[in-house]
């Protein structure tokens, strides 16, 4: 396969969630090389890591996001695509450390204090990571101090707050205030079933996303 063909094949693997050769999904690609093997092959063939990232992986996830928005695919297909993407990314790790390629930015995410719900937050983390962002997941029951400490360690990171209860969404307000007081330039996005756009505006957050893809769109708009 020449370089272009290889990148196209890799793009297809990520788009359809073909993780590696042994992966049974998707059935129409059974027995074929997946994102794992093809990324290794691309590097061995001398394709620049930045080309692999920009021309195969990121493009694939953009297609996935688009198809999800058009309701042509659903959360499960998004999650397998993110897994294929992250498998490919593992091979690019050394180039991120060396600075040869860069992620789109850093995203700190946590479920706010008092709240233990993490599945929604985990899905957001996984899909944002799959879209090319470095994700710092602080877990559940996270208060202002932990967010502030993490911002100190990850200069310029965007912060995401998640909540599932009406009783804990109110804690978002003080966390947003505390973060903005210490780091006024920090961009903050909120999400979770009980919150909405107007609540986001009311508490002084910069954005709201109803689902993981919405969070990706918001983040990508910051680096566009």
């Amino acid at each position: 396969m020449n370089n272009d063909e290889l990148l196209l094949k890799l793009l297809e693997c990520v788009e359809y969630g073909k993780v590696n050769k042994d992966a049974p999904y998707p059935p129409q690609m059974k027995g074929q090389d997946g994102a794992d093997e093809l990324t290794r092959q691309a590097l061995a063939q001398g394709i620049k890591p930045a080309d692999i990232l920009d021309n195969a992986l990121i493009k694939a996830m953009e297609k996935v996001g688009q198809k999800y928005a058009e309701k042509k695919i659903f959360v499960p297909q998004m999650l397998v695509a993110a897994k294929a993407m992250n498998t490919a990314m593992e091979h690019l790790k050394p180039y991120f450390s060396s600075g040869e390629v860069r992620k789109k930015g850093k995203f700190i995410i946590g479920t706010v204090s008092g709240d233990l719900h993490d599945i929604g937050k985990n899905l957001v983390a996984m899909i944002v990571e799959g879209a090319g962002w470095e994700v710092i997941d602080l877990g559940v029951d996270v208060g202002s101090q932990k967010f502030i400490q993490s911002i100190a360690n990850h200069n310029g990171a965007v912060v995401g707050l998640s909540a599932l209860l009406t009783t804990t969404m109110v804690n978002m307000k003080s966390i947003v205030m505390d973060i903005k007081a210490k780091y006024p330039g920090t961009r903050l996005i909120i999400g979770g079933a009980p919150v909405n756009e107007s609540f986001s505006a009311e508490i002084g957050a910069d954005g709201y996303a109803s689902d993981p893809q919405g969070a990706v769109s918001y983040l990508n708009s910051l680096v566009a």
Partner: protein, 219 residues
């Protein structure tokens, strides 16, 4: 007990568009989750509750619940109140987390949904069992309600757990009144000769602003 349809609905996949691979994965993970879960429930019946449907409060053994008017109205004619706590146990949650940790988000998400279904199934089991047993004594049961639903503040879980004493299935409460293990459910069921199980709760709930109103996923 675990319905494939419900899992697909919670995954956001229309059942007519579910790929065979997904169906197979759901079935496999359901079997695996059922093999590790430890469902458990406890229920205590308290006689002669004092219920004020106008103020929306209920007192049992001198402990007061701020039910809100809608739940209080539903309980109003009860001659006794059953409090229950049920759980799926910690292991399904742990299984979901272990998938997530390995980057297997789809598997983790499906197992999380199955854990919720098991917890809800335990509550359903208690409810139906009570209904069946009490019918023999010509008694009926109400809908079941949980602290946190229908404008009933979630921190009343503290009162519920106090009344249940040691009969708590090993579940503990956080200061924000959530249960650990997470896949747990608590609530109340009214009992009497003159009460009704009205079924679908949104129809009688007055929380007009509720975000979950009439959502099919409502639990």
């Amino acid at each position: 007990m675990i319905s494939r349809e419900n899992i697909l609905m919670n995954l956001g996949v229309p059942s007519d568009q579910a790929e065979p691979y997904l169906i197979g994965l759901i079935d496999e993970l359901t079997a695996r989750s059922l093999s590790v879960c430890s469902p458990m429930a406890t229920c205590s019946v308290f006689f002669s509750p004092t219920i004020d449907p106008v103020a929306g409060v209920m007192a049992i053994n001198e402990k007061t619940f701020g039910l809100n008017r809608m739940v209080a109205k539903a309980m109003h004619k009860s001659t006794s109140i059953a409090l229950f706590i049920g759980t799926c146990g910690p292991d399904v949650e742990a299984l979901s987390k272990s998938f997530m940790k390995k980057g297997e988000g789809l598997e983790g998400f499906i197992v999380d949904i199955i854990g919720s279904e098991i917890a809800e199934g335990v509550a359903d089991f208690i409810h139906k069992r009570m209904e069946k047993l009490l019918a023999k004594e010509n008694l009926k049961v109400t809908n079941r309600y949980s602290p946190g639903y229908c404008k009933w503040p979630v921190n009343d879980q503290q009162v519920l757990f106090e009344l249940m004493g040691p009969h708590n299935c090993g579940i503990t409460l956080t200061p924000s009144s959530l249960m650990i293990p997470v896949k747990s459910v608590s609530g109340i069921i009214g009992v009497g000769t003159d009460v009704v199980n009205a079924g679908y709760a949104c129809a009688i709930c007055d929380a007009e602003y509720c975000l979950y109103r009439d959502k099919k996923r409502q639990l």
